[in-house]
Symmetry: C2
Subunit: 445 residues, 2 copies
């Protein structure tokens, strides 16, 4: 038999992952946790090997940096050291300490005497995760997949190819030793061609999670046959209502923009009610400007701030409202009403996180109900939209989709449920008009 | 301005539905229920008009039946009468009586003093439902969409075009009178071209639910940009283990095949352990044969039943294992072990419903955990896989997907959740190393 082509070998990988996922359906929490602890140990014991492989990646990354093919921050993300290896090991131990999301009886119903229906959480099956730069994601995602009982196909960035390979190898070695989880529960693929083939496969992969650039996410969303969990743009708004508290609006707006401008939950457009005091707005924008933020405003905002010549205001173009700057740029729009703010968000928002600053609790509830986003915040910075801050224990991805899982997704996003029916020879033909009735009684758990 | 083309007018429909969905985000349960009761009354009051329009469809349907373009059962499904109209009205009242799936706080966490995170169930947004023949689905789906707070775009079968139109019109009239839900919460489209355009739209439609033939479902799954909830084939298996009880195996197998062969939860392939008594198997198959079932067997099964000349056994071809007969045909395969049964199901099953008959509870648990299907049954007929039988109150669709909702999907499948964060000017920059810690305390609901 000759060499397999890319398509055939990806089909084979999916089959291997699927077989592994079936074998994983019966392992219990203690077995999973033991493997996670073994993995932590394996990582610590093999630090030298990991660092040797990472050094190869760093040599290439540094050359790419010199040639301007890689940014400084991307280059930095590739780098591992003893501290980071220890963090990866600790991450495995933390995941072991989390509750098992699978095997929980969500609901149980007695359909009839001796006929009990249990809705039980279970792994999704085979998950594909695509990510960039950071090799520690190999360990993080493998740990989460293992804990939730899913097999995972990983594709990392080529900048970290050697590091990814050694880490995936150590994980597979740990699994092979486990006697309970097959090593094919973790499969690493390395090229874009392989991903292209995998994304096209109609069955076998149950969920795709792209973590990375907007372009990557959009490409996957447009081409995938399996459901996709992730987010493209993060265009978050803060709306300052006319009755907003002075300090709260200042604090929330500044934190949302400045705490970490390069991420998806940072503020991009500030919406301001036309009766919100001009002097307060000027104060906020001056502080933004002092922190290096470029200000792009609508004509109405320009006009109301005419008497503040210290403010350096450029005119916002139409494209500004639909741009995720992830940078020290802020667009500002004056609106006539909360309704107009919501309409703007509905048109330009990315369903990520949207905040209102107001002292009116009814208005806040109305805003939070009406705005269609994963996070709707009242008098709080959009920057809180994060799995760690939410207390989820682990963050798999942030989703701006509308089904399955939304916002920061924890381990719960990696499970679904199945219906187990326990009978005693029961048949459907016994029920109906003139025959037996169903009981449909909740069984207390 | 000239006429809109199909693509433009579908974009407009999606915009109208989306605007309606935003307006629906703030209506409460009592408002929804009032509209459902009003709708029931409207349907009863307008029975004559409904029957007149339905008669037009029936005239065409009967001609199509004569020309062989429509089956008798499809033709029958188009027909409405006073009883059916009354059932539609009652259906609205039943949906009003169901608990509201939206607005429930699923989980609440205190992140810090004065900073509370609530995970709250909410409508998905805009849903498109595609169905065939039965015009009463217009009312059924509209009622479920309304109760869950979603706007819905409906496409029915062209056989029931006039009936669908009058029903959708009455629903929209009821909404228009309501002052709380815009009439565009229910939009009816009528042609395949319109569906083709809608399916291609990348944003605006949040979920597509195809209910109908395998071809329809597969076409939608392959072309849709939005998530799809539904099922194609229903290839269900019953596995008789060597220790299965005689009566239970007979009852379960016969009911699974014969109770209603034309539906997706009917038995298609019987898997039998090689040590399961041949005489019992012969008895089951004779009863199947007496009920008009054609029997297609693997060579091993043929051999073990040689001494039962009354059995009319044809040889199963490879294609039989992957065929949903939805007819009086059964394929039978002898397996060496429960593992082989599970492997067969893994290869040919459609993730719908799979049953094992055994007296061994450990084996049953292993089977139910390992088999990847929405329903995994022990000593019970596959025919129980149904929203009504499960006690869900309403069935939106049966899903064989692996994310969001699985198996018979009730109202819960039409909601997702959003995170509401209640703060008091809180900013993310206050937390972290050397600063404040999060509390992450569960708030009791």
């Amino acid at each position: 038999m000759g060499e397999l082509n890319v398509s055939q070998s990806m089909q084979q990988h999916v089959k291997q992952a699927r077989d592994a996922s079936l074998a994983m359906a019966n392992i219990d929490t203690s077995q999973k946790n033991k493997i996670l602890h073994d993995l932590a140990e394996t990582l610590r014991e093999n630090s030298d090997e990991i660092l040797v492989e990472n050094a190869k990646d760093m040599t290439i990354a540094n050359k790419m940096l010199e040639r301007g093919e890689l940014t400084y921050s991307a280059c930095k993300r590739v780098m591992l050291n003893q501290v980071k290896i220890d963090q990866m090991a600790q991450n495995c131990e933390s995941v072991a300490a989390l509750p098992d999301p699978a095997g929980k009886t969500v609901k149980a119903t007695r359909l009839d005497n001796g006929l009990d229906l249990h809705c039980v959480s279970c792994p999704i099956g085979v998950i594909m995760v695509i990510f960039e730069s950071r090799p520690d994601v190999v360990v993080q995602i493998s740990a989460l997949a293992l804990k939730s009982g899913n097999a995972v196909i990983l594709k990392g960035g080529k900048e970290a190819q050697n590091s990814n390979r050694v880490l995936a190898g150590l994980i597979r070695k740990t699994l092979a030793k486990s006697d309970s989880v097959p090593e094919n529960a973790i499969i690493l693929v390395e090229t874009r061609d392989e991903v292209t083939e995998l994304v096209k496969i109609g069955s076998g992969i149950d969920l795709i999670i792209p973590r990375g650039s907007n372009e990557l996410v959009r490409h996957i969303q447009e081409n995938a046959r399996a459901p996709v969990l992730g987010h493209g743009d993060g265009i978050c708004h803060v709306y300052l209502h006319e009755d907003a508290d002075k300090e709260k609006s200042l604090d929330v707006a500044l934190d949302a923009k400045l705490d970490y401008p390069a991420v998806c939950n940072a503020l991009e457009t500030l919406l301001v009610h036309h009766k919100y005091p001009d002097s307060w707005l000027a104060n906020i924008l001056l502080k933004m400007q002092d922190s290096g933020v470029e200000l792009r405003v609508c004509p109405e905002t320009k006009k109301r701030l005419e008497s503040y010549p210290d403010l350096n205001l450029s005119a916002a173009a139409d494209i500004d409202w639909e741009t995720e700057y992830v940078d020290l740029i802020l667009s500002i729009k004056t609106v006539k009403s909360a309704e107009e703010a919501v309409e703007h968000i509905s048109q330009f928002g990315s369903k990520h996180t949207e905040a209102i600053v107001t002292e009116n609790s009814d208005l806040a509830e109305w805003f939070m109900n009406t705005v269609d986003a994963a996070g709707v915040f009242w008098n709080a910075s959009t920057r809180f939209a994060d799995g760690f801050r939410y207390g989820l224990g682990a963050e798999v991805v942030v989703s701006t989709g509308k089904t399955h899982a939304r916002g920061p997704v924890g381990l719960e996003g990696l499970v679904i449920y199945k219906y187990k029916l326990y009978g005693n020879g029961h048949v459907a033909g016994s029920y109906g008009k003139g025959k037996k009735d169903f009981i449909h009684q909740d069984i207390k758990l």
